[in-house]
Structure formats: structure tokens, C-alpha cells
């Protein structure tokens, strides 16, 4: 089997179309299962001596969304780099297709964090290292999308925004180490350190299922957006004309 076949937009378009319904259904099922498990099979509080009450359940979307925000940025920058090095058209389109979904998850991470911070820290927002660096990641996504749409020539837009994406990669280790620094006393972070190993198993189940659900959701939305980008960029070719004549609403 020739995998490079799917590096061509013409070949990838129908493949993505076939995958999207399966991804969407699987994502929906996983998310629903996670909500069911997270709300009905978990303890009412989290932690030992000074436990968090019911509001800790925000963890089921906050942590998965925050993971996706960083993971999708890595995917975005990865495709941008592949596009720059090999000059493959589909790679740039992939980067563009991932960006809005990444921005949505970054916003969700910030929003849910605010509503978790208020009952647990007494404030919706603080210029804590983790919160600030995540906010910058959000601006990077917005900047990537804005820069691309500000340049009319698609090839130039691809290259310029790809470069921005690669430079922005510097934020990922900063976000990671903003709470996981080797010496806790050196970190002036309000945000809790990650403590995956100490977490109750039902809470972990709900959290990991939601992560998988969000991941498949990201695949589905990115592929769907990718199909739109392919159609737009290939509008002059005969195969797109055939599709349009078959599917276009008159």
C-alpha cells in the first residue's frame, strides 16, 4: 500500500469524508460515557485533608481541554514544519484545519479554569505562570489564524503562518514546566501541580474517556474543515467540479 497516496488532497478528500461519521459517533459516545461516569460514579469530593467539593468535577473537561490545547498546537506546528520542509500542500492545509479547534479547546481550558479557580482559590483569574502561559497559547492560535487570513496569496500565507507556529512552539515547555518545575518552592504557581498517580480511579476513568472523546472530536472537526479548505483551494480542478455538481445546493 502506498501511504504517500494520501498526501494528495485529491486522494485525502474522500478518505476524510468516510472517516468523519465514525469519528463523530465515537467521540459522542465517549463524551457521553465520561459525563455519565463523571457525575454518577465519582465521590463528592477530591483530595485529603482540605478536600475540594463538587466543583472539582470541572476537572472532567478542564484537564482534557487543556491537554488538547497543547497537543493540537504540537500537531499544528508539526504540520506547518512538514509543509515548510517538504513543500507539501496538504500539510499546510492540515495546520490550518487544526487551528480553530485548538483555539476552541484553549478557550475552554481557560474558561473552565476560571470557574474552578473561583470556588477553590477565591478568584476567577490570576497572573499565575500556568494561567498566563495558557492565555498566550490562546493568542498564538488567534495570531496564526489572523496572520493566515491577512495575506491574500495562499502560498505566502501558508509559509508566514507556519513560521509563526514554529516560533510559538516555545510556549509548550513553558506551559508544562510552569507547574511541574523540579523544585516546588521555585514556582510561584497558584495552579496545582499535576498529580495523575494520586487521583481516584473513577475520576481518572472519566477524565481519560473525555480526553479520548475530545481527541476524536478534534479529528472529526479538523477533517471536516480540511475538506472545506481542499474544495476551496482546488476549486478549478475537474474533480471538485464533479463533487460540486453532485452535492451543491442550488
Amino acid at each position: 500500500m502506498n501511504w504517500f497516496k494520501y498526501a494528495s488532497p485529491t486522494a485525502f478528500y474522500p478518505l476524510a469524508g468516510r472517516l468523519i461519521p465514525w469519528l463523530a459517533v465515537a467521540a459522542l459516545l465517549l463524551i457521553l460515557f465520561s459525563l455519565y461516569w463523571g457525575f454518577l460514579h465519582t465521590p463528592e469530593q477530591l483530595g485529603g485533608s482540605n478536600p475540594q467539593k463538587e466543583y472539582y468535577r470541572i476537572i472532567f473537561i478542564h484537564v482534557p481541554a487543556a491537554w488538547m490545547s497543547m497537543w493540537l498546537y504540537l500537531v499544528l506546528a508539526g504540520w506547518a514544519a512538514v509543509g515548510l520542509v517538504f513543500n507539501t500542500r496538504l500539510s499546510f492545509m492540515m495546520a490550518n484545519a487544526v487551528a480553530p479547534t485548538g483555539a476552541v479547546f484553549t478557550f475552554i481550558a481557560l474558561w473552565t479554569g476560571a470557574f474552578w479557580g473561583r470556588p477553590s482559590w477565591g478568584t476567577y483569574w490570576d497572573w499565575d505562570p500556568r494561567l498566563t502561559s495558557e492565555l498566550i497559547l490562546f493568542f498564538l492560535y488567534i495570531g496564526f489564524i489572523a496572520l493566515h487570513s491577512a495575506i491574500d496569496d495562499t502560498r505566502r500565507a501558508d509559509r508566514a503562518s507556519a513560521l509563526l507556529a514554529i516560533v510559538g512552539l516555545v510556549m509548550l515547555p513553558i506551559i508544562f514546566w510552569s507547574i511541574n518545575c523540579p523544585d516546588p518552592n521555585q514556582c510561584a504557581a497558584l495552579h496545582q501541580r499535576s498529580s495523575m498517580s494520586k487521583i481516584e480511579s473513577n475520576i481518572l476513568t472519566a477524565m481519560l474517556t473525555m480526553t479520548l472523546g475530545f481527541w476524536l472530536y478534534s479529528f472529526a472537526t479538523a477533517f471536516s474543515r480540511l475538506r472545506g479548505i481542499i474544495l476551496t483551494r482546488e476549486a478549478d480542478s475537474t474533480w471538485v467540479r464533479d463533487i460540486v455538481e453532485r452535492e451543491a445546493p442550488v
Binding site: A11, E54, Y55, H62, T88, R225
Partner: protein, 79 residues
Amino acid sequence: MMEFLRQGGYAFYVWSAFSMTFVLLIAEVLSLRHSRRTILSRIGRLVRLRDSGGRSGSASATGTRSPGTARADIRGETS
């Protein structure tokens, strides 16, 4: 049921977080569906415009590219 909705008195925080998340995810799906229709109808208009505007000139020149997996199609060398 009320007990569940109250979330131990933290209903405002819990439901604010969860509702915003699912409003955004559903909005993204709806906007993708909408943009697909927009793109298809825009290209459809272009195709019809070109077909009615005669078969000479640029229309036939750009319309003859066939689908393929040639190197040129993978790389950005076609335009």
C-alpha cells in the same frame, strides 16, 4: 434530581463550565456544516458562471486538470 443539579451548592460554577464547553463544541460543528454548504454553493456558482460564459479561454485551460497522485499534485507545483 434537585440534589444532582445543586452539585452541593456549587451548581453555578459546575454548570457554567460544562454549558460553555458544550455550547462551543456544538457551535463549532454547526459552523462547519454551514461553511460546507457555503463553499459548495459558491463553487457551484463559479462553475455555472464559467459554463455559461463560453468554453474558450481560461475556463477550459484551468478546468482540465484531472485527479491524480502525481508528484506535482502532492507538491505545490501545479499553480
